[in-house]
């Protein structure tokens, strides 16, 4: 059974690991390969700050909330393990700020210690009249992706630096199942008008005195179009750009100015921070995540594709729940092919 995973961002690598962990012992013939033209540190995931936080509203998409919860709980369980540091995983507390009263988010009971801000705390943020405080998780992909790559390599999964031009190309090579984790460029393999880039730009600075994330929200401008500050283990990420439909991966001077000025207004202490790097990336935005099976004709054969893309600005936030869902789809493929005994019920 030959499986090709296309895409080596957080979705591709975690889906690969999840499937391999669950099915390798059940399917001794399982051979898995990962194909991507960009590997860490050049993936979209690598540019993200790595904060676990879903959007404010799940738009009634309970499925996504469950994936987010599953991811949070999975990561929380790994916090105390020796692997945490290598994974780039740690707890972080911080603020979400609003200019008006908003309903509590779907994830208020998932994160730790969720509460509203006190008047004294709001004094720190002139211009904002309402907000939340909670403790969440950081998962830095420039550590997590290499960690996933190591786990996969140890399991005998092979990696290829290659741009896959079509699903057919994979099937012609003998792949039985293709896992499509191609993120923002999924449209190149199969047109998808729902998938659009949500361009973001960030400035990475040295500001080790910042210990909290601060995410501001402007209901009119929309998600991520309002300044945010997210401290990592080495750098602090300043951002606040979301441009729907913009494919440009070049840094924009105007966006730099917007980010820098609005973040310094938010946190005056940042004025003294040293700028280390600037980066632009394309969030793979979609009204909802495409996580489903598709049977594709390949000559006389039927081949299977599992799509797992379109995670917008919450890929890290939802990745493990999605990987588990993809693994369930994989399991159903195996059952149909009668290649594996069904998993034992959990006691």
């Amino acid at each position: 059974m030959r499986v090709a995973v296309i895409g080596a961002g957080v979705i591709g690598l975690s889906t690969a690991l999840c499937i391999h962990e669950q099915y390798h012992s059940l399917v001794p013939s399982l051979e898995m390969e990962v194909y991507a033209d960009r590997h860490t540190p050049h993936t979209t995931s690598d540019g993200a700050a790595g904060l676990w936080q879903p959007y404010l509203s799940d738009h009634g998409n309970l499925q996504e909330t469950l994936w987010n919860k599953e991811t949070f709980d999975y990561l929380l369980g790994h916090l105390g393990s020796p692997a945490a540091k290598e994974m780039g995983l740690f707890l972080i507390s911080g603020y979400n700020l609003f200019t008006q009263l908003v309903p509590d988010p779907s994830w208020k009971s998932i994160v730790l210690g969720f509460r509203n801000l006190t008047p004294k705390e709001l004094e720190l943020f002139p211009g904002y009249s309402y907000g939340w405080f909670n403790t969440a998780l950081m998962l830095e992909c420039r550590s997590y992706l290499p960690w996933l790559t190591n786990r996969l390599t140890q399991r005998g999964v092979k990696f290829f630096h290659k741009k896959v031009e079509s699903f057919q190309e994979m099937f012609a090579q003998g792949m039985d199942v293709v896992i499509n984790c191609t993120g923002v460029r999924a449209g190149e393999l199969q047109p998808d008008p729902e998938l659009q880039p949500g361009r973001g730009q960030v400035i990475k600075v040295l500001a080790p005195w910042v210990k909290h994330f601060i995410i501001t929200h402007n209901i009119e401008s929309g998600i991520y179009n309002s300044p945010y500050v997210i401290p990592g283990s080495e750098f602090t990420v300043l951002g606040g750009i979301y441009q729907h439909g913009n494919w440009n991966e070049e840094n924009s001077t105007q966006d730099h100015k917007t980010i820098w000025e609005s973040c310094c207004r938010l946190l005056p202490a940042l004025q003294k921070a040293k700028i280390v790097e600037e980066w632009s990336g394309l969030r793979p935005a979609r009204p909802w995540v495409r996580l489903e099976r598709e049977t594709v004709r390949h000559g006389h054969f039927q081949a299977e594709v599992i799509h797992n893309y379109g995670h917008g600005g919450f890929g890290i936030t939802s990745h493990w729940g999605c990987a588990m869902a993809a693994a369930r789809l994989f399991g159903s493929i195996l059952q149909e092919k009668k290649l594996a005994t069904p998993p034992q019920p959990r006691l």
Binding site: S81, A84, K211, H212, S233
Partner: protein, 341 residues
Amino acid sequence: MAAPKVAVVGAGVVGLSTALCIVETCPSCSVTVLSDQFSPSTTSDVAAGMLIPHTYPGTPIHVQKQWFKETFTYLFAISNSAEASEAGIHLVSGWQVFKNTPKEELPFWSDVVLGFRPMSEAELQKFPQHRFGQAFTTLKCDCPPYLLWLEKRLKATGVQMYTRKVADLWELHSEYNIVVNCAGIGAHQLVGDEQLFPVRGQVLKVHAPWVKNFIRDGDGLTYIYPGIHRVTLGGTREKESWSLSPDPGTTKDIFDRCCSLEPSLQGAQDIKVKVGLRPSRWSVRLQREVLSQGGFKLPVVHNYGHGAGGFSVHRGTAKEAARLVGECIAALQGSSSRAKL
């Protein structure tokens, strides 16, 4: 008195902040700081600088609360300004956890820090050996940056600072009109205060930049305080120990205790060990005294004995000390005008 000459003995957080308060309240004063140690060799440099008060049994609670509130307000404003990183002041959130529920569930300072509340069940799960906890956000003063920032502000106002070991306050009487004693643990020898005793603290300062929250055991012995560049791991409270030498067995014990609270610390790098002697006392000695010898008088303001809580109340006690200096000046002016009659 044209320009009263004030000597401040001691250049830790109390000495420097007191000197600054005196300059602020008495612009005509000529202030000089004298100390045998300056940053990075003061007791303050060893401390994490967390704003979590220590309770002095001999000082009324409302006074301690006022000192803490003044200090917190002062530092809060700096933390929110462009000077924050230079001054080493930053906000930090975290948890104080207890193995046994404390008698006092609400400490006197709970409404001064930010967002104080009991920890949720989910938060407590991270600490399986602890049954109760409090979550809040407070401030941290990183040293050396804070002390260096205070020194810079003092120099900008013309304050002179000299390395000098003062053996006896009286030796200053010919050069200065008023002496302010902020000698910390040095006051034991300097003024022979038998009520002042060291409480030895050993700490580790480690590189673990992924630690963003503080964790403190309510017993005050084990704590993890993330600073700008290093995380302070503590600690010990050894009464009457004068030893400034790091003890390797203690280092291992501190490290193990902290790792059991925060397992990721196993990956901490570049462990540096430091020792400080908390200048401990039943109450902070914050009072005037007049020394006299052979017809000469020397007004003294004492401001020492802050023990484990120096950072938490430094600005509040400094302001009070400056007010007492003002009283000394008024008294000197009163007596000099009487002398003219």
